[in-house]
């Protein structure tokens, strides 16, 4: 099955996307954010909350920031305090939480000793991350990778214990990936909630404690079913990099992570998101966490046929940003979706063209294919039929990560039986149409081939324009998802700052070198 794409166009599209992101990366390199700094504290072992329930990473970063010390980076202040007080970073943070002292007020210690402390903390942290990553990689190797498309389902009860019950049932039915959906609007919180949670709306809070509980449950199931089970959460919103770090620490396998989703769909400040996504991505690259980009969202608010090229353009941009963060293609879950109105004549042919375009444009990536949602209705039977065709397109076009459609998509977050029905549908279709993609070809210059070319050409025109005006200006022009966001508006803008000359962040420097250097 081939689209017969003009490879010169493909190359051109990629070059344009590179040029577009090169420009943005210059801005990124000059800046850090509150959440980037909080991420550093987490990697140095700071966790927990103060008596007001404020997470200690926030406490510490806020302390330094309010004393105008953050432009130097949080690392120095922590290390300096550790040396001065002979405490661990966590003890330091707890003391700050109890308002015993401010980090900025501690007398600067001898530079070489502080430097040594920093090296020691950094070393320790990186060893820890590597250990976790290696454990995961070897577990994956031992248990074996399931066949693609991986069957990906969500749990979203709001209660981590109910999530566990349902996730286990899903795994025993055949799920390969469990995503714990976050509670509504967590992306807008400028902190990561702490501890186990049993209440959430439309999902369960992403907390490190919840990550741990689910990871254990899935590992238990994995050895039971003899299949590696991946765990997914969201690194989106105001805490992108922190969540990546938490995920790395708890051995998650995937994160929803898009370079522009927060800007467009959460009205988060552009610069904040661009800087945050960079950090969160090299953490993912470092820890072998697959990212899932969010282009499916564009065609929830704009027309999936007319605006198909915006998906393609954004995929290429996401790819370039990921490459800049040292990510290997196999960890790029490039997002796209089956969202065309089921009443469109030949809708299935459009879907095949679009899905295969993603597959062929990113041959070494692991595309993440999303199910019908916006045209799902209360007719659960029709929904089941829509999902059947979605499953068919996925297996035909060789997708990698396959989020299952739920027959009750228009009604509620999935019931335990909805997930069962979805899994059995996917298993049926994947097996029944296994070799179909290999057995068919498209007519030369037929409907499907032409449609794919049309989308690619439009994506190129769009990227040309974006290159000309710049990515940020084009977001103002609402090129993606029909949504306009202004450069300096949006949530979390005050959390972005330009790094001072003495800004020092050795753990991230080291991770960046490692992911980019030896291509680990």
């Amino acid at each position: 099955m081939h689209l017969d794409l003009d490879q010169n166009l493909v190359r051109k599209a990629r070059e344009l996307a590179k040029a577009v992101t090169d420009d943005v990366q210059k801005f990124i390199n000059l800046r850090s954010t509150d959440s980037v700094e909080r991420t550093v504290t987490r990697l140095y072992g700071i966790d927990g909350v103060d008596t007001d329930g404020i997470p200690l990473p926030n406490v510490v970063v806020h302390d330094v920031k309010s004393h105008d010390g953050l432009k130097r980076g949080i690392t120095y202040w922590i290390a300096n305090a550790c040396v001065a007080k002979s405490m661990s970073p966590q003890e330091i943070a707890e003391s700050v939480g109890r308002k015993e002292f401010s980090l900025v007020e501690i007398r600067p210690q001898k530079e070489s000793i502080v430097a040594e402390k920093i090296d020691e903390l950094t070393e320790e942290s990186i060893r820890k991350l590597e250990k976790i990553k290696n454990e995961r990689d070897s577990m994956l190797e031992t248990l074996g990778n399931p066949n693609q498309p991986y069957i990906y389902v969500i749990v979203a009860t709001g209660n981590i214990y109910e999530d566990v019950i349902q996730a286990k049932a899903a795994v025993s039915e055949g799920a390969d990936i469990i995503a714990v959906i976050r509670s509504t609007a967590q992306s807008l919180l400028d902190f990561v909630p702490f501890g186990v949670t049993t209440e959430g709306y439309g999902g369960t809070y992403a907390t490190q404690a919840n990550f741990k509980i689910m990871r254990e449950a899935l590992d238990e199931m994995a050895s039971k079913v003899g299949r590696y089970i991946r765990l997914t959460n969201y690194a989106s919103g105001l805490c992108m990099p922190e969540i990546s770090a938490m995920a790395a620490l708890e051995g998650l396998d995937m994160l929803l992570n898009d370079s522009m989703y927060g800007i467009l769909f959460r009205n988060i400040n552009m610069m904040r998101t661009f800087v945050d996504q960079y950090t969160s991505r090299f953490i993912c690259a470092f820890s072998h966490i697959t990212i899932n980009t969010g282009e499916d969202n564009y065609i929830k608010t704009s027309d999936p046929i007319d605006r198909a090229h915006t998906v393609t353009a954004s995929q290429l941009i996401n790819e370039q940003f990921a490459l800049k963060a040292g990510m290997k293609p196999e960890y790029m879950g490039i997002g796209h979706a089956f969202e065309i109105d089921p009443d469109v004549e030949n809708g299935l042919l459009y879907e095949i063209a679009h899905a295969l375009l993603t597959r062929e444009l990113f041959p070494n990536a692991t595309p993440k294919y999303m199910p019908p949602t916006r045209y799902m209705t209360g007719n659960i039977f029709k929904g089941y039929a829509q999902n059947t065709l979605y499953n068919l397109v996925s297996i035909m076009t060789g997708q990698s990560i396959h989020l299952l459609g739920m027959l009750t998509e228009a009604i509620h977050t999935p019931l335990v039986q909805d997930r069962y029905l979805a899994i059995s549908n996917a298993k049926y279709v994947f097996n029944n149409a296994k070799a179909l993609g290999k057995d068919i070809e498209f007519k030369k210059d037929g409907f499907i081939q032409k449609e794919a070319s049309r989308v690619l050409e439009n994506a190129i025109s769009l990227l040309e324009h974006v290159k000309e005006v710049g990515l940020m200006a084009s977001i103002e022009e609402s090129v993606f998802g029909d949504i306009s966001r202004k450069m300096d508006e949006g949530k979390g803008a005050d959390g972005v700052f330009v790094k001072d000359e003495d800004y020092y962040n050795p753990i991230f420097d080291k991770m960046e070198t490692m992911v980019r250097g030896d291509g680990l």
């Binding site: 019950i165 209360g378 039977f381 509620h412 335990v416």
Partner: protein
Amino acid sequence: MIPNLDLKNIKPYGDQTNDGVIQLSFTLPIPAGAKAREAARMLVESMGFSDIQIVLTEDIGEDFTFFVIYAKTNKYVDYTSIKTFEVEITKMGIEEINDKISKYLKRQVVIVGATIGSDAHTIGLDSILNMKGYHGDSGLERYKAFKVYNLGSQVPPLELVRKAREYKADVILVSQIVTQREIHIKQLTDLVDILDAEKLRDKVLLIVGGPRITHELAVELGYDAGFGAGTMPSDVAAYITDRILKRSS
């Protein structure tokens, strides 16, 4: 099982323990619209449901309206008190059965099978009787212990009884697939009546099967046992062996 589940109050589980969520669908013979929706809501409410979400109200022509509904039931069941009424089977292998029968009965068990009355569905009965069996489980013909006469389909009850007498059957196996307007009840009752009239009922083990047959229904109609959807031939073989040996001893 879910930790700390209250077995005396089992409710459906949708999204949360004991939320009682049930999906329903049905058609009312009234035109679609607010009034139809209210009728559907009232109907469902009268069954003891709350949180009634009518997620589909569809005009399906000629003043029929189709509904899909999710709602929460206020009913529950006491799991600890449930008594099930089912055929008791102690699994036995082919050899074990052959040995037992030859040891204790000292002859083959004679089995006569048929789908009776107007029913032409033979596949179910054949799955039980034919060598080939069902889903890899061999049929009764494969057992040395059994002598099987498969009379096929649409056999009038009278004819079946005649053949059973002729072959000196120990066991009669009847299949009933078509159940529309309770035709199976009529045909099954006919058969029992004839066996009674011919004073043969006590001399045979009388078994009925089919996708809508339950053991409970079978016993109610005067049969020794009933086998439903997905029955395995080996289960039937084990049951027959057990009962025939008990009778003969």
